[in-house]
């Protein structure tokens, strides 16, 4: 059953990727949404998105203060524990300050592991920044070519783009099923479908997604009818216990604009013209993540998702110490409020703390359901 396959991948993503390394594949750890995974794929490597773990951080505490955030600390912990040695290398981009510092720490404390920094601007406006963005991407491409010893072939890149674009389209279809009324895909399965894509090869993931969509098409939707549809927003949602909790409180995720969700996969690469330039343009123009400026396209994406899903409220799941998202939140909240859409903020450190979250979510769902919000 494809649903089981998808969720099994997520039980031990690193273990899963270790298997590939044993089989002789090169796995490249990637750290955020500005790593052009198409380049890595076209160079015959498997991009693996690093999403940390919920385990406690001990070794990395020596180098990163708590306020660097759980994600950065946890990834460094995994590396210091030796859990990432099977990776051929690590690629990060100049995203948040924590991730940028992680690059320095990697070079200093994980000697011998190939690590690349894609030094892109944070401001995705203006001619100069565009030029520098493009240049940083090209430099990364060259670094990758040196590493593999093979030039990035246009034909191979075109094939990779096609695979990635198909993946994006399939995920968008999944998102559409999620927000159908009644939903034709459960929120839990949708989340598993998205997250497993960070671990599986894109080809395998596409295969699973096609099977999943096909099975949804055959099944008669039978649940979720009475659940309050909500939109979930934030940089990262990997706590898979959150959606069952939401459901127990009488609500469901009908749409999202997560950094580990639609912000990652929404935009496609133009398949005409020069493939290298097309990939670069895609990352320049994609829905900007919270650590990029301007914020407007991100807001418009959030809004369009809510309109599509008819979500009746928004839950912001924000990583503690992720400053970028913490600054956005009150602005988004007020803009939503002006439109009569209530919202709730939940702090997360890769996990959401059980009981307190339950009480707050329950109260929020009751408010949304009762329409008592003003």
């Amino acid at each position: 059953m494809v649903r089981t396959e998808l969720s099994q991948v997520l039980c031990d993503p690193l273990g899963f990727s270790r298997q590939w390394s044993r089989e002789g594949c090169r796995v490249m750890g990637c750290l955020d949404n500005y790593v052009p995974e198409e380049f890595i794929h076209a160079e015959e490597m498997i991009p693996l998105r690093l999403l940390g773990s919920t385990e406690s951080v001990t070794l990395a505490d020596t180098f990163l203060p708590v306020f660097a955030g759980k994600l950065a600390r946890s990834i460094l912990e995994q590396a210091l524990q030796g859990n990432l040695v099977h990776l051929a290398g690590i690629v990060l981009s100049n995203s948040s300050d924590a991730v940028r510092m992680l690059y320095d720490l990697w070079e200093r404390h994980i000697p011998g592991q190939w690590v690349a920094l894609i030094d892109v601007p944070a401001i995705l406006e203006g001619e100069t920044n565009h030029r520098v963005f493009r240049q940083a991407m090209l430099e990364f491409k060259e670094k990758l070519e040196k590493f593999t010893g093979k030039p990035l072939e246009a034909a191979a890149l075109r094939r990779s783009i096609a695979v990635f674009n198909e993946n994006r389209r399939l995920l968008k279809k999944a998102a559409a099923l999620l927000s159908a009324s009644p939903p034709r895909l459960s929120a839990e399965t949708y989340l598993d479908a998205v997250l497993s894509g960070f671990v599986l090869t894109k080809e395998k993931h596409n295969e699973y997604l096609r099977q999943l969509l096909e099975s949804c098409r055959r099944e008669t939707p039978d649940r979720g009818g009475q659940l309050v549809p909500l939109h979930i927003s934030g940089p990262i949602l990997v706590d898979r216990s959150f959606l069952p909790l939401l459901q127990e409180c009488g609500a469901t995720m009908a749409s999202e604009d997560l950094g580990t969700g639609s912000r990652y996969y929404w935009d496609e690469v133009d398949e005409t013209g020069d493939p290298i330039e097309a990939v670069i343009e895609r990352y320049w123009r994609k829905i900007p993540d919270s650590y990029k400026t301007p914020m407007k396209p991100r807001w418009l994406h959030l809004l369009s998702q809510i309109e599509r899903s008819k979500a009746r409220g928004v839950i912001f799941v924000i990583e503690k110490y992720s400053d970028e998202d913490q600054y956005d939140y009150p602005v988004w909240r007020d803009r939503l409020r002006a439109r009569g859409i209530p919202s709730l903020l939940l702090d997360s450190e890769l996990v959401l703390e059980g009981e307190q979250v339950r009480t707050r979510v329950q109260t929020f769902v009751d408010i949304v359901r009762g329409g008592a919000f003003s």
Binding site: T62, F63, L64, P65, F67, A68, N94, S96, D97, A98, R100, M101, D104, L105, E107, R108, D119, P121, A122, I123, E125, G126, E127, T128, N129, R131, V132, Q135, Y291, T293, P294, M295, K320, Y321, D323, E324, Q326, Y327, D328, Y329, P330, V331, R333, L345
Partner: protein, 413 residues
């Protein structure tokens, strides 16, 4: 702390008393400029400040204003205003103070220091010191609905790469016409170059002053110097800065020539990393009772006001703005610190783990490790915040500091 030696009262340098006057002049100047209908921009640390003075745009520094609020014990209430509006307590406290003002009572509330913050016509910020700075400015833009320009930059290892320099200059070439258009000013290169000269002259004197603090005994400690630094942040290109710094430098020089230190019996020399606790500058002078002096700060040496080779002014202008501590990679910070510890003859380093300023605080453990391994110089970590006093725990910090000084004393004898 226990007193073991007589302590010098008041300022070590009389000229330091002038700092408050300069600061007042700056804020009054801003209010006047606004009242006269001339353009005002809100700017942040490490913006190309000289451009503003050259263009007749008054550069208003909300960060400094937040520090001022902290130093008169007003920061907490303003932080709380921002927190009530949903801004996390984990965000930079300068921004919380500012957002507390902007979203709370409003920028020109008479209850605020210097009669309030003049309203901006435009916002200019940069990613050089940190990314949250940009996010903070976006919130401010949301409120005022005025134009904003952000100067991007990537972190550097010295020497600065040509591509990084060109990235910076490219944006400056976009910023100038943007300022001209939005604020109705006109850029004249001559005036700009003159302003650069003034800026560089001020930086030169400031660095001479800092270098005088390599002397044993040191002529002036951190408490006083943190109060003196402000014109280097906001008034580079303004002749008043040169005047003030000259007074400081000359007086310090005189002290050094006469062998006169800020302490009568200087025994331990300390360095400080990160932004000071503005609400608790006393922390620096408290150690003087133990004959210890803070005589070096990464914050005062590498955050603003580097020198420029004006034979190649645009290159120098770019490099100066990129060559700052907060924009250094950890490796660069290590190299710089190793050099300076020897130069300033430091016995110990105090690292302020400043929960507000994450970019400053990440990597500090690496620095401490390296200076211990390479130079045998010990460090102390204190956890706090530059403006929000709630993050400072007086009793345990004092105990730690006492123990640290005792250890350093033990090492000396």
């Amino acid at each position: 702390m226990t007193t073991t030696a007589p302590k010098k009262k008041g300022r070590a340098l009389n000229s330091s008393y002038e700092a408050a006057i300069v600061l007042k002049e700056y804020w009054e100047g801003a209010a006047r400029h606004r009242a006269e209908g001339r353009p005002v921009a809100w700017v942040s640390g490490n913006v190309p400040i000289e451009l503003f003075w050259a263009l007749g745009i008054y550069p208003v520094y909300p960060e400094n204003y937040s520090a001022v609020c902290a130093s008169i014990q007003r920061a907490q209430e303003l932080c709380e205003e921002a927190e009530e509006r949903g801004y996390s307590i984990d965000l930079c406290s300068y921004s919380r103070v500012n957002l507390g003002i902007v979203l709370g009572k409003g920028v020109d509330h008479p209850d605020l220091p210097y009669g309030g913050l003049p309203r901006p016509d435009m916002l200019v910020t940069t990613r050089i010191p940190c990314l949250p700075q940009v996010k903070w400015w976006e919130v401010v833009r949301e409120f005022f609905d005025i134009p904003m320009f952000v100067v991007d930059a990537t972190m550097v290892d010295l020497p600065i790469r040509e591509s990084q320099r060109q990235h910076y200059l490219g944006q400056i070439r976009e910023l100038i016409p943007c300022l001209e258009k939005k604020l109705g000013v006109r850029f004249q290169e001559d005036t700009f170059l003159e302003t650069l000269k003034l800026s560089d002259r001020a930086a030169e004197i400031w660095l001479e002053l800092l270098d005088l603090r390599t002397a044993v005994p040191s002529p002036v400690g951190s408490r006083e110097m943190c109060g003196n630094v402000f014109p280097l942040v906001a008034m580079l290109g303004n002749p008043r800065t040169i005047e003030f710094f000259t007074h400081l430098r000359d007086e310090a020089k005189q002290c050094v020539q006469e062998g006169k230190g800020a302490l009568e019996n200087e025994r331990i020399r300390l360095g400080w990393d990160n932004i000071p606790m503005w609400y608790n500058l006393k922390f620096f002078s408290d150690v003087e009772d133990r004959n210890a002096i803070f005589t070096y700060e990464t914050y005062l040496r590498y955050v603003w006001g580097g020198r420029m080779d004006l034979n190649d002014p645009w290159t120098a202008f770019a490099d100066k703005h990129l060559d700052v501590w907060l924009n250094y990679s950890i490796n660069q910070r290590v190299r710089t610190l190793l050099h300076d510890i020897v130069k300033f003859k430091l016995d110990g380093l105090v690292f302020h783990q400043n929960r507000s300023c994450k970019r400053f605080s990440m990597g500090q453990r690496d620095l401490a490790q390296v200076i211990q391994e390479n130079l045998g110089v010990s460090s102390l970590f204190i956890e706090s915040d530059m403006a929000d006093p709630r993050a400072y725990a007086e009793a345990p910090t004092r105990v730690k500091m006492e123990a640290f000084l005792e250890m350093l004393e033990g090492k000396k004898s």
